[in-house]
Symmetry: D2
Subunit: 343 residues, 4 copies
């Protein structure tokens, strides 16, 4: 069976494994203060063009999301998110567990608009008893979204403008950042992402690393004392070197982007195959996740060779997810396409 | 100006005030261990026909809601509520502040159905990654709802049956309990409420008391150590006598129900007046809150004499709320009706 | 039996009761926005000489303590307190329940010193792994302390100077503020208290009111959005008028101080009686709480007429607490003294 | 410079690295449901002789501590710990951040006794206002302690007996479990540890793994729904295989214990060297951490070649920590001893 169910079924790019082997018995200080973390942070800051940014390396995505949110908000403040946002659906209530409401806005494609955010804030303060409702203070978006869609530069700029006008913090979940940037429809660079948000993270777990997310905080008021809270929530890796080393490798010679393009281009081949067969897609994704809507018979046939993941019922058909990743071999995709064509 | 904006603009029924004056210098032990609290609890237990219930007297509704929820749930568990539920909208995120997600279900009239709850639970466990989403463990409803509507005995029985089948805790917010029970459309008694839920509270603040809510816990597994948590959250009144005394008065000779019927019958007169004038109602309420949909001109005219509260935009009209209470004089209602008739 | 066990066994001063009766059916807006709250706040601001202070009226002491702390601290910050401080011992873990460690410092008499605080902060930052320990950010003291002792103007000035140097917030629990100010040993005014702290509260529950504490926030950075958090934690009384009215009465014509002096002077008579009989005191208190160390026989004799409260074992004797309050009749004290003299 | 400052300066045992390389491109399902986690759990359950235990693999120690505590306690409950316990000192307030007080008991050597725990519980319930103080519900100990000391089988048995009598949960932090078990003074096996506690964890980060702790829950009532909370707090590793694989290797052919014995025996050589030179030890440790008390001159000399970590001031001398680990080469220890002998 070939697994297309997610983009984290395998280990890490060979360059990372080699480096792990090579440095295994090297002695370094702990908790992210070693030279590998320093070097990786420098490379990221150089790429985004902001030497004053703070870069922290955490182990996973849920962790990064809720710890940054806990660090940045006061008790009465909530975070606006698409109702489909990962923090609102698939993190077991982590944001609420640190005391904050996720204010879910309706979304068809996983994105939210500047106008939606503006209306939410205006409505809040228009209510004479506004102190009886949660104060919107942060906007959380994912790039790409959980549905594979991406924000354009125009959309992100508008969103950030509304955030700045209303003193909201804009935070971008980049668990699949690489795959979003590598999309043929994308017009944003990592530098743009940094300039058009207050904080964001660059996902490693799904894009080439064994594990690890690089949180980048650019807004001055959100930087202070983050490490205390990272430690408190159990997210400060004792052997921090393991995180630094992985991002150091990924941000050397554009490796992160190169492996992401590999996944994105394979996903486009799968997309084309489904469309060629007249199979509709649940979301119009140009990134590494594809969501075909299959009949029971079609699904059964594909299930003979491939693992996909269930997404949603769509009438009497089923939407499932096929993911490519940095590790997907081209031949596996070709075999999948062959089987799609036989449907 | 006559205030119809809410049902808590005034003090307490004269019987309570008299008793406060009379007992002012009496010495009692603190924290709800005095004879007035005992007596009030006994009267409530007698009325609901459950001698084993635990009765706690708290100061306000938000407090009662979130403290009971905090006491009953483990960290990963959430509470199902109508999206319009008070805990989901008007308590500044108190439930989230103690770590729990409010799982909002769509509702037109403020109520949720047994079928909705069942589907939510079934969907949760049908997901193979259910541990990544908040576990539904409690159902919160309001009787009457924030919109003035009430559950029938059949609806509540169905809801409780689904809760029992799925090991969910059913908790009823009774901030306006009296007014719901006094509705001409109501077919439930307080005894039914107790038999068809795991915990509920009897609102005093809006129904005759200066302040105070009587939380009744009937489910054995929810009783343990509640007082610790009540104290921890700052809800254990030092001079607990003040709460016991008020409920003791309210539950003597059916006073609580008598004053509620007064408010309910005045509300029906207001309702009839609006309907007679062809003014539509935003919710079909048969309790003490009425929600007429007014033109700007109509609203301006009523605003000359009365304070109502803004509820929602309804096209180019506005839905506002008029409340009656135990304290509303019949003459004020007659004057309001006179002005409605002049619209 | 005459109760001397605490200073909150009875209702309120007659002036408050009269005002409650008189205003009972007056209609006011809710949640502390009424004219009584405004008036009471003005009187308090005038007395402390700070027109820019924020004054909030809450129901009880535990509530006031933990809500202010929750509002002022970020997740990794803790509050320094005497190990005997009320928040560290008798509030069921309320401060921890909102996420913060109470950093307990040793104390014999209930007070902590500027030097202790300074050392705690210096030690924290001297540790190279300081991010692995809770950051001290607030200092909590009680005036008078739980043991009846008081800070001198010099001691408080020194403490506040250290707080300012180290950017710590100084918060004073004034549950018994009146009795501290009324002590014959006291050299502080309420105006001094306000000038030498960032926030404090004036206790009503124990000093003349049915319930209620007036929180005064003087530090600009601690003022923002407090009401949201007050509401979230269930501490915003619907009929806020009840709180405003009580403090308005207490701060009219110096009533608050007058009734406190009554209690303090009676306590001094009790103190003298014990000392005259050669009975040692557990703490050297010049406020309304007295802690005689009694033999079993002495205690048994006093228990025939009076209720006191157990405090601590002291060898084979027992320290107990006798409290006076605004409500204590002089004749009860005379009778107590008579019985002390017979020991 | 040779680093003796901690036991987590290096990577993992070669057997783990080899396995990581070998399995890197293998596809496995996520979140700890893979065959490596299954296999590792089986091996651990076999070693402890409890097939019904639940085994969870988490990333780090702070994480494991506070998540288990959050999962097991209700809001008003606290955890008893030596004042020197890791959760009380070096986890940035993680336990408080999930709402629970750490009830610190005095300890000279890092251990607490059955008698201390019993007294704490008895005192709690003896207080008539016990609901105003945090309810002791869990006992947290470390094996070995942060000071290198260990509990004997007798001491642990007594402690667990008191816990069972008082319905307390006994939880053992085993961040350095291997080094405790490998101590020449130890009379406990892992099977004993499991039988004499309700939950414990086997540290990997400090004992041979890149990272990872194996939490073992033996008490039935503490097992339910742990994975939800693990996910919620960001501790469920996406590529769970990485954790399973490491513990699978460590628990194959007794590797875990073998590498721990290596560290313990080297530590004994260092201990002997210091004692031979007449240098006192701050704690009487027979495990992998040694705490010599050095003069400034002695410390300066050792600092020329070795990194140790500061522990405490001891008069005009300084206690520092030297750690050995699975990775410490014998030659480094010999060189250290040589330099000690030259002091």
């Amino acid at each position: 069976m070939i697994r297309f169910e997610s983009d984290y079924t395998q280990g890490a790019v060979p360059e990372i494994i080699e480096k792990l082997v090579e440095t295994n018995l090297e002695q370094t200080p702990g908790y992210g203060t070693d030279k590998y973390c320093m070097s990786a942070a420098e490379k990221i800051k150089k790429e985004i063009g902001d030497e004053t940014a703070d870069v922290h390396f955490l182990v996973g995505g849920t962790q990064t999301n809720y710890i940054f949110i806990a660090s940045a908000l006061r008790p009465h403040q909530g975070v606006i998110s698409a109702c489909t946002g990962h923090i609102n659906v698939h993190e077991s209530g982590s944001v609420e567990s640190v005391g904050h409401k996720v204010i879910g806005l309706p979304s068809e494609d996983g994105k939210i608009t500047a106008a939606q955010v503006e209306r939410t804030v205006k409505d809040h303060y228009a209510d004479p008893t506004f102190e009886h409702t949660v104060q919107p203070k942060m906007v959380y978006i994912s790039f790409p979204t959980e549905n594979g869609t991406i924000y354009s530069k125009k959309e992100l700029s508008d969103l950030y403008a509304v955030c700045k006008e209303n003193d909201l913090i804009l935070f971008i979940d980049g668990a699949r950042m690489g795959y979003g940037l590598a999309s043929e429809k994308n017009d944003l660079t990592l530098r743009d992402i940094a300039a058009l948000s207050d904080a964001f993270y660059i996902g490693g777990t799904k894009v080439g690393a064994l594990f690890g997310e690089a949180l980048v905080i650019t807004r001055e008021s959100c930087k202070k004392d983050f490490r205390y809270i990272e430690k408190q929530k159990g997210a400060m890796l004792a052997k921090g070197r393991l995180l630094g080393l992985q991002f150091d490798v990924l941000f050397t010679d554009g490796l992160y982007h190169k492996i992401a393009r590999h996944a994105a281009s394979l996903a486009m081949k799968i997309r084309e195959a489904f469309l060629t067969k007249g199979i509709e897609l649940y979301y119009d994704s140009y990134t590494n996740q594809q969501f075909p809507i299959l009949t029971d018979e079609q699904l059964a046939k594909l299930n003979e060779h491939f693992v996909s993941s269930y997404w949603a019922k769509a009438g009497d058909k089923t939407a499932v997810r096929f993911c490519t990743s940095w590790a997907t071999p081209e031949k596996d995709v070709d075999f999948l396409i062959e089987k799609i064509m036989e449907l």
